[in-house]
Protein backbone atom coordinates (compact mmCIF):
# COMPACT_ATOMS: atom_id res chain seq x y z
CA UNK A 1 0.00 0.00 0.00
CA UNK A 2 1.31 3.41 -0.89
CA UNK A 3 -1.11 5.75 0.83
CA UNK A 4 1.84 7.94 1.94
CA UNK A 5 2.26 8.91 -1.70
CA UNK A 6 -1.22 10.44 -1.62
CA UNK A 7 -0.36 13.10 0.98
CA UNK A 8 0.89 15.65 -1.51
CA UNK A 9 -2.45 15.44 -3.35
CA UNK A 10 -4.60 16.31 -0.36
CA UNK A 11 -5.14 19.92 -1.54
CA UNK A 12 -6.34 18.62 -4.91
CA UNK A 13 -8.82 16.28 -3.21
CA UNK A 14 -10.07 19.02 -0.88
CA UNK A 15 -10.70 21.23 -3.90
CA UNK A 16 -12.52 18.30 -5.50
CA UNK A 17 -14.81 18.00 -2.47
CA UNK A 18 -15.62 21.70 -2.80
CA UNK A 19 -16.50 21.30 -6.46
CA UNK A 20 -18.61 18.19 -5.85
CA UNK A 21 -20.53 19.95 -3.08
CA UNK A 22 -21.01 23.05 -5.22
CA UNK A 23 -22.54 20.99 -8.04
CA UNK A 24 -24.70 19.00 -5.70
CA UNK A 25 -26.07 21.95 -3.72
CA UNK A 26 -26.79 24.10 -6.77
CA UNK A 27 -28.40 21.21 -8.66
CA UNK A 28 -30.50 20.23 -5.65
CA UNK A 29 -31.79 23.77 -5.23
CA UNK A 30 -32.57 24.08 -8.94
CA UNK A 31 -34.21 20.65 -8.94
CA UNK A 32 -36.36 21.35 -5.90
CA UNK A 33 -37.63 24.71 -7.10
CA UNK A 34 -38.43 23.45 -10.57
CA UNK A 35 -39.78 20.17 -9.14
CA UNK A 36 -42.25 21.99 -6.88
CA UNK A 37 -43.50 24.11 -9.79
CA UNK A 38 -43.95 21.05 -12.01
CA UNK A 39 -45.68 19.13 -9.20
CA UNK A 40 -48.16 21.99 -8.71
CA UNK A 41 -48.89 21.95 -12.44
CA UNK A 42 -49.41 18.19 -12.30
CA UNK A 43 -52.06 18.41 -9.58
CA UNK A 44 -53.77 21.41 -11.18
CA UNK A 45 -56.70 21.28 -13.57
CA UNK A 46 -54.99 22.98 -16.49
CA UNK A 47 -54.93 20.22 -19.10
CA UNK A 48 -52.34 21.56 -21.62
CA UNK A 49 -49.87 22.42 -18.85
CA UNK A 50 -50.40 19.03 -17.24
CA UNK A 51 -49.70 17.34 -20.54
CA UNK A 52 -46.54 19.39 -20.95
CA UNK A 53 -45.36 18.52 -17.43
CA UNK A 54 -45.90 14.82 -18.04
CA UNK A 55 -44.08 15.01 -21.36
CA UNK A 56 -41.19 16.77 -19.63
CA UNK A 57 -41.00 14.05 -16.99
CA UNK A 58 -41.06 11.26 -19.56
CA UNK A 59 -38.17 12.85 -21.51
CA UNK A 60 -35.91 13.31 -18.50
CA UNK A 61 -36.74 9.96 -16.95
CA UNK A 62 -36.58 8.17 -20.28
CA UNK A 63 -33.04 9.11 -21.34
CA UNK A 64 -29.71 8.60 -19.56
CA UNK A 65 -28.43 11.49 -17.45
CA UNK A 66 -25.01 11.33 -19.12
CA UNK A 67 -26.59 11.72 -22.55
CA UNK A 68 -28.51 14.75 -21.29
CA UNK A 69 -25.31 16.24 -19.89
CA UNK A 70 -23.46 15.72 -23.16
CA UNK A 71 -26.28 17.25 -25.18
CA UNK A 72 -26.41 20.36 -23.04
CA UNK A 73 -22.64 20.74 -22.72
CA UNK A 74 -21.57 19.92 -26.28
CA UNK A 75 -24.64 20.96 -28.30
CA UNK A 76 -25.26 24.35 -26.68
CA UNK A 77 -22.22 25.96 -28.38
CA UNK A 78 -23.39 24.59 -31.74
CA UNK A 79 -27.05 25.63 -31.36
CA UNK A 80 -26.72 28.94 -29.54
CA UNK A 81 -23.17 29.94 -30.35
CA UNK A 82 -22.44 30.10 -26.61
CA UNK A 83 -19.60 28.21 -25.00
CA UNK A 84 -21.41 27.05 -21.88
CA UNK A 85 -19.18 26.65 -18.79
CA UNK A 86 -19.10 23.11 -17.43
CA UNK A 87 -20.59 24.21 -14.11
CA UNK A 88 -23.59 25.84 -15.77
CA UNK A 89 -24.16 22.91 -18.10
CA UNK A 90 -24.02 20.44 -15.21
CA UNK A 91 -26.28 22.42 -12.88
CA UNK A 92 -28.83 22.93 -15.67
CA UNK A 93 -28.78 19.26 -16.63
CA UNK A 94 -28.91 17.92 -13.08
CA UNK A 95 -31.50 20.47 -12.05
CA UNK A 96 -33.77 19.66 -14.98
CA UNK A 97 -33.29 15.94 -14.47
CA UNK A 98 -33.90 15.83 -10.74
CA UNK A 99 -36.91 18.15 -11.14
CA UNK A 100 -38.56 15.40 -13.16
CA UNK A 101 -38.08 12.86 -10.35
CA UNK A 102 -38.86 15.29 -7.55
CA UNK A 103 -42.08 16.44 -9.22
CA UNK A 104 -43.27 12.84 -9.41
CA UNK A 105 -42.55 12.22 -5.71
CA UNK A 106 -44.24 15.46 -4.73
CA UNK A 107 -47.27 14.78 -6.91
CA UNK A 108 -47.71 11.43 -5.21
CA UNK A 109 -47.28 13.05 -1.80
CA UNK A 110 -49.79 15.81 -2.51
CA UNK A 111 -52.35 13.34 -3.80
CA UNK A 112 -51.84 11.13 -0.76
CA UNK A 113 -53.04 13.90 1.57
CA UNK A 114 -56.63 13.23 2.63
CA UNK A 115 -59.11 15.11 0.45
CA UNK A 116 -60.89 16.25 3.62
CA UNK A 117 -57.92 18.49 4.44
CA UNK A 118 -58.43 20.61 1.36
CA UNK A 119 -62.18 20.67 1.93
CA UNK A 120 -61.77 21.77 5.54
CA UNK A 121 -59.47 24.62 4.53
CA UNK A 122 -61.75 25.67 1.70
CA UNK A 123 -64.79 25.55 3.98
CA UNK A 124 -62.99 27.98 6.29
CA UNK A 125 -62.60 30.44 3.40
CA UNK A 126 -58.85 29.83 2.97
CA UNK A 127 -57.56 30.57 -0.55
CA UNK A 128 -56.27 27.82 -2.85
CA UNK A 129 -52.72 29.18 -2.58
CA UNK A 130 -52.70 29.28 1.23
CA UNK A 131 -54.36 25.87 1.39
CA UNK A 132 -51.57 24.39 -0.69
CA UNK A 133 -48.72 26.16 1.12
CA UNK A 134 -49.94 25.85 4.72
CA UNK A 135 -52.11 22.74 4.77
CA UNK A 136 -51.27 20.40 1.90
CA UNK A 137 -47.50 20.85 1.38
CA UNK A 138 -46.44 20.33 5.02
CA UNK A 139 -48.39 17.07 5.10
CA UNK A 140 -47.21 15.99 1.66
CA UNK A 141 -43.61 16.74 2.65
CA UNK A 142 -43.88 14.21 5.45
CA UNK A 143 -44.81 11.49 2.96
CA UNK A 144 -42.11 12.39 0.45
CA UNK A 145 -39.19 13.33 2.68
CA UNK A 146 -37.52 9.90 2.37
CA UNK A 147 -37.87 10.07 -1.41
CA UNK A 148 -36.38 13.57 -1.46
CA UNK A 149 -33.43 12.45 0.65
CA UNK A 150 -32.84 9.61 -1.80
CA UNK A 151 -32.95 12.12 -4.64
CA UNK A 152 -30.31 14.31 -2.96
CA UNK A 153 -28.09 11.27 -2.39
CA UNK A 154 -28.52 10.25 -6.02
CA UNK A 155 -27.59 13.79 -7.09
CA UNK A 156 -24.44 13.74 -4.99
CA UNK A 157 -23.34 10.47 -6.56
CA UNK A 158 -24.40 11.46 -10.06
CA UNK A 159 -22.37 14.65 -9.72
CA UNK A 160 -19.35 12.45 -10.46
CA UNK A 161 -20.56 12.45 -14.06
CA UNK A 162 -19.17 15.97 -14.40
CA UNK A 163 -15.70 14.41 -14.38
CA UNK A 164 -16.48 13.37 -17.96
CA UNK A 165 -16.69 16.97 -19.11
CA UNK A 166 -13.41 17.85 -17.46
CA UNK A 167 -14.54 19.33 -14.16
CA UNK A 168 -12.10 18.71 -11.29
CA UNK A 169 -14.50 17.11 -8.81
CA UNK A 170 -13.65 14.29 -6.38
CA UNK A 171 -13.67 11.60 -9.08
CA UNK A 172 -11.62 13.66 -11.53
CA UNK A 173 -9.12 14.48 -8.77
CA UNK A 174 -8.70 10.76 -7.98
CA UNK A 175 -8.29 10.05 -11.65
CA UNK A 176 -5.65 12.76 -11.98
CA UNK A 177 -3.70 11.31 -9.06
CA UNK A 178 -3.91 7.89 -10.68
CA UNK A 179 -2.58 9.25 -13.97
CA UNK A 180 0.28 11.13 -12.31
CA UNK A 181 1.43 8.39 -9.91
CA UNK A 182 0.39 5.33 -11.93
CA UNK A 183 -1.21 3.96 -8.76
CA UNK A 184 -4.93 3.20 -9.34
CA UNK A 185 -6.18 1.61 -6.11
CA UNK A 186 -5.29 4.15 -3.43
CA UNK A 187 -6.62 7.33 -5.08
CA UNK A 188 -9.83 5.65 -6.22
CA UNK A 189 -10.56 4.10 -2.83
CA UNK A 190 -9.95 7.48 -1.21
CA UNK A 191 -12.39 9.02 -3.70
CA UNK A 192 -14.98 6.38 -2.87
CA UNK A 193 -14.46 6.97 0.87
CA UNK A 194 -15.00 10.70 0.42
CA UNK A 195 -18.35 10.09 -1.33
CA UNK A 196 -19.33 7.65 1.41
CA UNK A 197 -18.58 10.16 4.17
CA UNK A 198 -20.40 12.99 2.36
CA UNK A 199 -23.49 10.82 1.93
CA UNK A 200 -23.27 9.76 5.57
CA UNK A 201 -23.38 13.41 6.63
CA UNK A 202 -26.30 14.08 4.29
CA UNK A 203 -28.19 11.13 5.76
CA UNK A 204 -27.60 12.43 9.30
CA UNK A 205 -28.92 15.86 8.35
CA UNK A 206 -31.94 14.21 6.74
CA UNK A 207 -32.67 12.29 9.95
CA UNK A 208 -32.66 15.51 11.95
CA UNK A 209 -35.00 17.12 9.41
CA UNK A 210 -37.33 14.12 9.44
CA UNK A 211 -37.60 14.20 13.22
CA UNK A 212 -38.47 17.89 13.07
CA UNK A 213 -41.15 17.39 10.44
CA UNK A 214 -42.67 14.52 12.39
CA UNK A 215 -42.83 16.31 15.72
CA UNK A 216 -46.66 16.51 15.63
CA UNK A 217 -46.72 12.72 15.95
CA UNK A 218 -44.97 12.68 19.28
CA UNK A 219 -45.77 15.63 21.50
Amino acid sequence: MQFHKMVEFIPLLVKGVGVTLEFTVLSTIAGFILGIIIAVVKVSNIKPLKWLANFYTSIFRGTPLLVQLFIIYYATPQLFDYKIPALNAAVITFGLNSAAYISESLRGGIQAVDKGQKEAAMALGVSYFNTMVDIIFPQALKHVLPALVNESIALLKDSSLVATIGVMDVLRASETIMNTTFIPFEPLIIGAAIYYVLIGILTLLADVLERRVNRSDRS
Partner: protein, 240 residues
Amino acid sequence: MIEVKNVYKSFGHLEVLKDVSVSIQNGEVIAIIGPSGSGKSTLLRCINLLEVPTKGSVFVDGQDITDKKTNIAEIRKKVGMVFQHFNLFPHMTVLENMTYAPIKTKGADKLSIGKKALELLKTVGLEEKANVYPEKLSGGQKQRVAIARALAMEPETLLFDEPTSALDPEMVKEVLQVIKALAKTGITMALVTHEMGFAREVADRICFLEGGKLIEEATPEEFFSNPKTERAKQFLEKML
Protein backbone atom coordinates in the same frame (compact mmCIF):
# COMPACT_ATOMS: atom_id res chain seq x y z
CA MET B 1 -80.87 33.45 5.22
CA ILE B 2 -80.16 30.59 2.83
CA GLU B 3 -82.20 29.66 -0.19
CA VAL B 4 -81.59 26.57 -2.28
CA LYS B 5 -83.57 26.94 -5.50
CA ASN B 6 -84.32 24.08 -7.91
CA VAL B 7 -80.92 22.48 -7.44
CA TYR B 8 -79.87 19.48 -9.51
CA LYS B 9 -76.58 17.68 -9.04
CA SER B 10 -75.15 14.83 -11.09
CA PHE B 11 -71.95 12.87 -10.73
CA GLY B 12 -71.41 11.51 -14.24
CA HIS B 13 -74.61 9.67 -15.07
CA LEU B 14 -75.74 9.46 -11.48
CA GLU B 15 -78.28 12.12 -10.61
CA VAL B 16 -77.94 12.71 -6.86
CA LEU B 17 -80.18 15.76 -6.42
CA LYS B 18 -83.31 16.35 -8.46
CA ASP B 19 -84.93 19.75 -8.27
CA VAL B 20 -84.42 20.39 -4.57
CA SER B 21 -85.58 23.69 -3.09
CA VAL B 22 -85.31 24.57 0.55
CA SER B 23 -84.84 27.74 2.54
CA ILE B 24 -83.39 28.32 5.99
CA GLN B 25 -84.36 31.43 7.93
CA ASN B 26 -81.90 33.24 10.15
CA GLY B 27 -81.65 31.49 13.49
CA GLU B 28 -83.48 28.43 12.25
CA VAL B 29 -82.21 24.89 12.77
CA ILE B 30 -83.08 22.36 10.10
CA ALA B 31 -82.31 18.66 10.11
CA ILE B 32 -81.89 16.89 6.80
CA ILE B 33 -82.66 13.21 7.13
CA GLY B 34 -83.27 10.29 4.83
CA PRO B 35 -81.90 6.92 3.77
CA SER B 36 -78.28 6.42 2.70
CA GLY B 37 -77.60 7.70 -0.78
CA SER B 38 -80.60 10.01 -0.77
CA GLY B 39 -78.39 13.06 -1.41
CA LYS B 40 -78.39 14.61 2.09
CA SER B 41 -74.68 15.32 2.27
CA THR B 42 -74.56 16.50 -1.33
CA LEU B 43 -77.35 18.98 -0.61
CA LEU B 44 -75.49 20.28 2.43
CA ARG B 45 -72.25 20.58 0.48
CA CYS B 46 -74.01 22.63 -2.18
CA ILE B 47 -74.69 25.30 0.44
CA ASN B 48 -70.98 26.19 0.72
CA LEU B 49 -70.21 25.09 -2.81
CA LEU B 50 -67.99 22.15 -1.90
CA GLU B 51 -70.24 20.62 -4.55
CA VAL B 52 -71.21 22.84 -7.45
CA PRO B 53 -74.83 22.29 -8.49
CA THR B 54 -75.29 21.06 -12.05
CA LYS B 55 -78.37 23.27 -12.32
CA GLY B 56 -80.18 25.71 -10.05
CA SER B 57 -78.94 28.34 -7.61
CA VAL B 58 -78.06 28.75 -3.97
CA PHE B 59 -78.50 32.14 -2.31
CA VAL B 60 -76.69 33.13 0.87
CA ASP B 61 -77.94 36.47 2.21
CA GLY B 62 -79.45 37.17 -1.19
CA GLN B 63 -76.20 36.52 -3.05
CA ASP B 64 -76.20 33.79 -5.69
CA ILE B 65 -73.15 31.71 -4.79
CA THR B 66 -73.37 29.63 -7.98
CA ASP B 67 -72.68 32.82 -9.92
CA LYS B 68 -69.08 32.67 -11.17
CA LYS B 69 -68.54 36.30 -10.13
CA THR B 70 -69.29 35.59 -6.46
CA ASN B 71 -66.22 35.40 -4.26
CA ILE B 72 -66.93 32.03 -2.69
CA ALA B 73 -64.15 32.36 -0.09
CA GLU B 74 -66.01 35.38 1.34
CA ILE B 75 -69.23 33.37 1.57
CA ARG B 76 -67.45 30.47 3.25
CA LYS B 77 -66.27 32.77 6.02
CA LYS B 78 -69.95 33.21 6.91
CA VAL B 79 -70.95 29.57 6.43
CA GLY B 80 -68.91 27.19 8.57
CA MET B 81 -68.87 23.42 8.21
CA VAL B 82 -68.31 20.46 10.50
CA PHE B 83 -67.38 17.21 8.78
CA GLN B 84 -68.09 13.58 9.52
CA HIS B 85 -64.37 12.82 9.73
CA PHE B 86 -63.45 16.06 11.59
CA ASN B 87 -60.70 17.01 9.12
CA LEU B 88 -58.56 18.71 11.73
CA PHE B 89 -55.13 19.74 10.44
CA PRO B 90 -52.82 17.09 11.92
CA HIS B 91 -49.66 19.21 11.74
CA MET B 92 -51.15 22.01 13.85
CA THR B 93 -52.00 22.09 17.54
CA VAL B 94 -55.62 22.46 18.61
CA LEU B 95 -55.12 26.20 19.09
CA GLU B 96 -53.36 26.59 15.73
CA ASN B 97 -56.20 24.68 14.07
CA MET B 98 -58.62 27.25 15.44
CA THR B 99 -56.63 30.42 14.83
CA TYR B 100 -55.16 29.63 11.41
CA ALA B 101 -58.13 30.59 9.25
CA PRO B 102 -59.15 33.73 11.19
CA ILE B 103 -55.57 35.02 10.99
CA LYS B 104 -55.14 34.13 7.30
CA THR B 105 -58.51 35.13 5.95
CA LYS B 106 -59.69 37.89 8.25
CA GLY B 107 -56.39 39.34 9.39
CA ALA B 108 -57.32 38.58 12.98
CA ASP B 109 -54.84 39.67 15.64
CA LYS B 110 -52.92 36.67 16.90
CA LEU B 111 -53.27 37.53 20.57
CA SER B 112 -56.96 38.34 20.61
CA ILE B 113 -57.98 35.40 18.41
CA GLY B 114 -55.90 33.14 20.64
CA LYS B 115 -57.82 34.39 23.66
CA LYS B 116 -61.10 33.89 21.86
CA ALA B 117 -60.10 30.38 20.80
CA LEU B 118 -59.37 29.49 24.42
CA GLU B 119 -62.80 30.74 25.45
CA LEU B 120 -64.40 28.64 22.72
CA LEU B 121 -62.42 25.63 23.87
CA LYS B 122 -63.77 26.22 27.34
CA THR B 123 -67.34 26.14 26.04
CA VAL B 124 -66.70 22.75 24.43
CA GLY B 125 -64.89 21.57 27.58
CA LEU B 126 -61.42 21.20 26.10
CA GLU B 127 -59.42 24.18 27.31
CA GLU B 128 -56.66 21.94 28.67
CA LYS B 129 -56.09 20.52 25.16
CA ALA B 130 -55.13 23.83 23.54
CA ASN B 131 -51.52 22.92 22.85
CA VAL B 132 -52.02 19.29 21.98
CA TYR B 133 -51.87 17.85 18.47
CA PRO B 134 -55.11 16.30 17.14
CA GLU B 135 -53.64 12.80 17.12
CA LYS B 136 -53.75 12.77 20.90
CA LEU B 137 -57.51 13.40 21.02
CA SER B 138 -60.39 10.95 21.06
CA GLY B 139 -62.95 11.09 18.26
CA GLY B 140 -65.42 13.00 20.36
CA GLN B 141 -62.77 15.50 21.40
CA LYS B 142 -61.69 15.94 17.79
CA GLN B 143 -65.21 16.72 16.73
CA ARG B 144 -65.65 19.23 19.54
CA VAL B 145 -62.44 20.94 18.45
CA ALA B 146 -63.72 20.95 14.85
CA ILE B 147 -66.90 22.67 16.03
CA ALA B 148 -64.85 25.21 17.98
CA ARG B 149 -62.66 25.77 14.93
CA ALA B 150 -65.71 26.54 12.81
CA LEU B 151 -67.01 28.89 15.50
CA ALA B 152 -63.72 30.79 15.68
CA MET B 153 -64.62 32.24 12.26
CA GLU B 154 -67.81 33.68 13.81
CA PRO B 155 -70.04 32.23 11.09
CA GLU B 156 -73.70 33.14 10.64
CA THR B 157 -74.51 29.61 9.60
CA LEU B 158 -73.07 26.22 10.52
CA LEU B 159 -73.42 23.12 8.39
CA PHE B 160 -73.04 19.74 10.09
CA ASP B 161 -72.36 16.75 7.85
CA GLU B 162 -73.18 13.64 9.91
CA PRO B 163 -71.13 14.95 12.83
CA THR B 164 -71.52 11.82 14.97
CA SER B 165 -71.46 9.06 12.34
CA ALA B 166 -67.75 8.34 12.70
CA LEU B 167 -67.79 8.30 16.50
CA ASP B 168 -67.79 5.45 18.97
CA PRO B 169 -71.22 5.22 20.58
CA GLU B 170 -70.05 6.48 23.96
CA MET B 171 -68.73 9.67 22.41
CA VAL B 172 -71.86 10.62 20.50
CA LYS B 173 -73.50 12.22 23.49
CA GLU B 174 -70.72 14.71 24.29
CA VAL B 175 -70.81 16.01 20.72
CA LEU B 176 -74.59 16.18 20.55
CA GLN B 177 -74.63 18.17 23.78
CA VAL B 178 -72.31 20.76 22.28
CA ILE B 179 -74.48 21.04 19.17
CA LYS B 180 -77.64 21.30 21.25
CA ALA B 181 -76.17 24.12 23.31
CA LEU B 182 -75.15 25.82 20.08
CA ALA B 183 -78.65 25.57 18.63
CA LYS B 184 -79.93 27.64 21.53
CA THR B 185 -77.54 30.51 20.78
CA GLY B 186 -79.55 31.54 17.72
CA ILE B 187 -76.98 30.56 15.10
CA THR B 188 -78.48 29.26 11.86
CA MET B 189 -77.84 25.55 11.44
CA ALA B 190 -78.37 22.81 8.89
CA LEU B 191 -77.51 19.32 9.98
CA VAL B 192 -77.43 16.01 8.23
CA THR B 193 -77.88 13.30 10.83
CA HIS B 194 -78.94 9.73 11.47
CA GLU B 195 -79.73 10.49 15.11
CA MET B 196 -83.51 10.73 15.01
CA GLY B 197 -84.01 11.57 18.67
CA PHE B 198 -81.50 14.36 18.36
CA ALA B 199 -83.06 15.73 15.16
CA ARG B 200 -86.44 15.76 16.84
CA GLU B 201 -85.13 17.59 19.87
CA VAL B 202 -82.92 20.17 18.27
CA ALA B 203 -84.47 20.99 14.88
CA ASP B 204 -87.16 23.54 14.08
CA ARG B 205 -87.89 21.75 10.85
CA ILE B 206 -87.22 18.33 9.34
CA CYS B 207 -86.38 17.93 5.64
CA PHE B 208 -86.81 14.37 4.44
CA LEU B 209 -84.86 13.42 1.33
CA GLU B 210 -85.40 10.30 -0.72
CA GLY B 211 -83.81 9.45 -4.07
CA GLY B 212 -82.46 12.96 -4.50
CA LYS B 213 -85.82 14.64 -3.93
CA LEU B 214 -87.12 16.58 -0.98
CA ILE B 215 -90.35 14.69 -0.43
CA GLU B 216 -91.42 15.92 2.97
CA GLU B 217 -90.86 19.03 5.04
CA ALA B 218 -92.49 19.43 8.45
CA THR B 219 -92.00 20.37 12.07
CA PRO B 220 -90.43 17.57 14.11
CA GLU B 221 -93.71 16.86 15.98
CA GLU B 222 -95.63 16.51 12.75
CA PHE B 223 -92.97 14.51 10.99
CA PHE B 224 -92.22 12.01 13.73
CA SER B 225 -95.77 11.46 14.96
CA ASN B 226 -97.63 11.75 11.71
CA PRO B 227 -95.50 11.51 8.58
CA LYS B 228 -97.44 12.29 5.41
CA THR B 229 -95.58 10.20 2.86
CA GLU B 230 -95.48 6.44 2.76
CA ARG B 231 -91.71 6.51 2.25
CA ALA B 232 -91.14 8.59 5.39
CA LYS B 233 -93.34 6.18 7.38
CA GLN B 234 -91.28 3.20 6.22
CA PHE B 235 -88.04 5.05 6.98
CA LEU B 236 -89.13 5.96 10.50
CA GLU B 237 -90.30 2.43 11.22
CA LYS B 238 -86.82 1.20 10.46
CA MET B 239 -85.03 3.95 12.37
CA LEU B 240 -87.09 4.18 15.57
